[in-house]
């Protein structure tokens, strides 16, 4: 699932990169070769859009301070309404997206949104023929919904009636419907000059939204949010264990339809603000980002809603001051920034947290190895195993034997750098101190080392006695497991081996000794 979302994310990033590059190409005087290179490298859609002059004409004008202020204070009524509407849309998409991500249906929305394009074209043509207002948003969205649902239906039919897998079906439907839509739009363009504006559905344009359009978006988004809250418990159960849900009498199929209905609603009302190519990102990215922060579903649900809302707010605001910037790209960019931050800093699954945990584990393993190696090297220098008990228990008793670095290095396959780091850290916790060219264990260090060695040997003895391991192999096997042994297991081990009395049992295999 994660890898799928990542794939989409990188696709989206690449797309946005193209757009941004294209926007600046004219500014930077790259006109001759810039767009050419891009045109040859990306899908025909971009070429088509360019031929209509909607992307290459995007000259960015830096807004004045006055414009910034009026944006921040939301002075302009129009801006205020648009920003609010898109914020609600983002929140709804984030919340609905957290369900679809966990239901592993994230890509269904993608097929659906791409399949809306021919519907927009048909609705426009039909309205033109009948002499209605061909730019009426509800009408266009109705057409979008019809072909969107047909697209979904085709995916389901392909999946059930052939042996093709779902990803194949999704890919086929997505591209065929989108291709058909692009073709239809270019035909309309040639027939009818004032069809310009339809292409804003492809990558979103808040600037073209009227107050009534925003009202529609806001109401639909609020309905989605409300339904998500009311059915949170039921949808959570559906996503976790659909079969159990049906066994308890929850209508799983109808719940699935409700969830799909939420996705359809978000996608359709999101067409104008975000555009049909990027609306899927609004469903996936906030939810995927939220997953890095928590192991609780309702927290994930709320974080996802907040990230979506923030993306919508900032994206729509940006699009208000940079009138020519596609708002969909801005919204998704903001969400992506949140995603990257979450991926690195997420407190539950972020890269940083996991890296810290791994480092900590490695350090503790290194310390255990170091202490055990030191213990085993000085072990023969002490008296018989019987007297050893006393020497460990004597308080403040210092083990005078110094272990040389050479001997420690020979004990395991570790670099001297790594060994030195481990020694420094252990010395800081006063388990040992550097003594000339070698190290000596402190009293505390001896106790800890004895405990670790005991643990290791008990485990070795167990493996030999009960798991039929050869004594020559047992050291490495025990090594792999002993670091994760919990105290409760150790107790069990002790009672099993009946070794209570012996502080450190003798090694069941020969141990390399310190050569004096």
């Amino acid at each position: 699932m994660m890898s799928r979302s990542l794939l989409i994310l990188f696709g989206v990033l690449a797309w946005i990169g193209m757009l941004v590059l294209n926007c600046f190409a004219t500014e930077l005087g790259l006109q001759p070769e810039g767009p050419e290179a891009i045109r040859s490298s990306v899908a025909p859609t971009v070429a088509l859009l360019e031929s209509r002059g909607s992307i290459t004409d995007r000259r960015l004008e830096w807004p004045t301070w006055e414009q910034w202020w009026s944006l921040i204070l939301l002075r302009d009524y129009n801006t205020r309404v648009v920003v609010l509407g898109v914020t609600l849309l983002g929140a709804a998409a984030g919340m609905v997206g957290s369900f679809t991500l966990l239901r592993k249906r994230a890509l269904m929305g993608d097929a659906l949104s791409h399949a809306t394009l021919p519907g927009i074209g048909f609705a426009f043509l039909l309205a033109n023929q009948l002499g209605w207002d061909a730019k009426s948003l509800p009408l266009l969205l109705f057409g979008a919904t019809v072909t969107g649902l047909i697209g979904l239906g085709v995916v389901l039919v392909i999946r059930h009636s052939t042996r093709l897998k779902e990803d194949t079906a999704l890919g086929a439907v997505l591209s065929v419907f989108f291709g058909g839509g692009v073709a239809l739009l270019s035909v309309i363009q040639q027939m009818d000059g004032h069809a310009a504006g339809l292409e804003s559905f492809i990558y979103g344009k808040t600037a073209s939204m009227g107050i009534r359009d925003v009202q529609l978006i806001a109401v639909a988004a609020m309905v989605c949010i409300l339904v998500s809250f009311l059915l949170f418990k039921e949808l959570k159960l559906l996503c976790f264990d659909g079969q159990f849900a049906s066994s308890r009498g929850f209508p799983a199929i109808r719940l699935d339809i409700v969830l799909m209905g939420l996705v359809v609603t978000v996608c359709i009302v999101g067409l104008q603000a975000v555009g049909l190519i990027l609306v899927i990102a609004l469903l996936i990215i906030p939810a995927a980002a939220a997953r890095f922060w928590t192991e609780k579903m309702w927290v994930m649900f709320l974080i996802s809603g907040c990230i979506g809302a923030a993306g919508g707010m900032v994206g729509a605001g940006m699009s208000a001051v940079f009138a020519r910037l596609p708002s969909g790209a801005m919204i998704v960019l903001v969400c992506t920034v949140f995603f990257l931050l979450s991926m690195v800093f997420g407190t539950s699954r972020g890269i940083l947290v996991r890296w810290l945990q791994r480092t900590q584990l490695h350090r503790s393993i290194d310390r255990q190895h170091l202490l055990r190696a030191a213990f085993e090297l000085v072990e023969p220098k002490r008296a018989t195993p019987g007297a050893e008990k006393e020497s460990v228990r004597q308080d403040g008793h210092r083990e005078q034997v110094t272990v040389s670095m050479q001997a420690l290095l020979g004990k395991r396959s570790w670099s001297s750098w790594r060994l030195n780091r481990a020694i420094d850290r252990a010395a800081r916790d006063s388990l040992l101190y550097r003594d000339g060219d070698g190290i000596s264990l402190t009293a505390r260090g001896v106790i800890e080392a004895a405990r670790l060695t005991r643990q290791h040997r008990l485990w070795e003895i167990f493996l030999i006695a009960h798991a039929d391991f050869a004594p020559s192999q047992v050291d490495r096997q025990a090594d792999a497991i002993e670091h994760v042994l919990e105290p409760e297991l150790i107790r069990e081990l002790v009672s099993l081996l009946d070794q209570q009395d012996i502080i450190v049992p003798a090694s069941p295999h020969p141990v390399e000794e310190l050569k004096s």
Binding site: L102, K104, L230, L231, K233, E234, K236, L237, C239, F240, D241, Q243, F244, S246, S247, R248, G249, F250, R291, T294, E295, K296, M297, M300
Partner: protein, 257 residues
């Protein structure tokens, strides 16, 4: 309230996946207050039988009565423990959340989980010996602990008939003991448990009643009467080869179409 009605009565049940029959002509009446083991080789239709009882999969024919009524009418009296592998354990919930899911029907549509429900769930976790792991994310639980969480989710409903799909599969010794204790406690309280089981050696120790299943019921009855080498031979060995060949041929034909 445990009535004297037969907890589970199956009559002439046949289930088919894509026209491939999975179980044929199963008829059984299970005695109340007993622990019932369902035993049979892989692909014998054991899980299918449980799912068909709960209307999770459509049946080709047959009639099923739970305490004398249809399953839909007596849902509240049936607890279900699915196979552990049937869900994604990486889901963002903790053990207590999962157990509370057993109460969602009782809580009702759109209502939030309240304190008394969480307390009931905690009590169920205590019964399976997992009280101290209640707030642990489910992917951090061991296989046996995950299985016990599922068991607690069924226990929290306080049902009269429990259907368990391989609760003993790949669990540690302490989990196995915990599950057996819970089962015996259920029996003492007059409840019935139908348990799909793989380990033939423990059948006689754990169960009173046994159903030997291999696409059809080979035998069913009290363990001491039915759990015999001959019946086991019929279930696992020598076998219903013809039945196997027929279904394989049908599956093959379907694939070509």
């Amino acid at each position: 309230m445990v009535t004297n009605a037969i907890p589970l009565s199956i009559d002439d049940l046949t289930v088919a996946y894509h026209r491939k029959p999975v179980i044929w002509d199963v008829s059984l009446d299970l005695p109340a207050g007993s622990l019932v083991g369902v035993v049979g080789p892989n692909g014998a239709g054991k899980s299918t039988l449980l799912k068909a009882v709960m209307d999770l999969i459509p049946r080709a024919s047959g009639r099923i009565k739970v305490f004398g009524e249809s399953y839909a009418d007596n849902r509240g009296r049936v607890g279900y423990v699915p196979q552990r592998e049937s869900v994604d354990w990486d889901f963002p919930v903790d053990a207590l959340d999962v157990v509370t899911m057993g109460l969602y029907r009782e809580i009702g549509w759109c209502f939030p989980v309240r304190k008394k429900h969480r307390q009931a769930a905690m009590e169920a976790l205590r019964r399976v010996g997992m009280a101290d792991l209640a707030n642990r994310q489910i992917s951090q639980l061991s296989g046996g602990q995950q299985q016990r969480t599922f068991l607690a989710r069924a226990l929290v409903q306080d049902a009269d008939l429990y259907l368990m799909d391989e609760p003993f599969a790949a669990v540690d010794a302490s989990t196995e003991r915990a599950i057996v204790d819970v089962l015996r406690d259920m029996r003492a309280r007059g409840k019935t448990a139908v348990v799909i089981h793989h380990d033939l050696q423990t059948v006689a120790e754990y169960f009173d009643y046994v159903v030997l299943l291999n696409m059809r019921v080979v035998a069913h009855g009290f363990v001491k009467d039915v759990f015999t080498p001959e019946n086991l031979q019929k279930t696992y060995g020598g076998r219903l080869t013809l039945l196997d060949e027929v279904t394989e041929a049908m599956r093959h034909q379907r694939r070509k179409l």
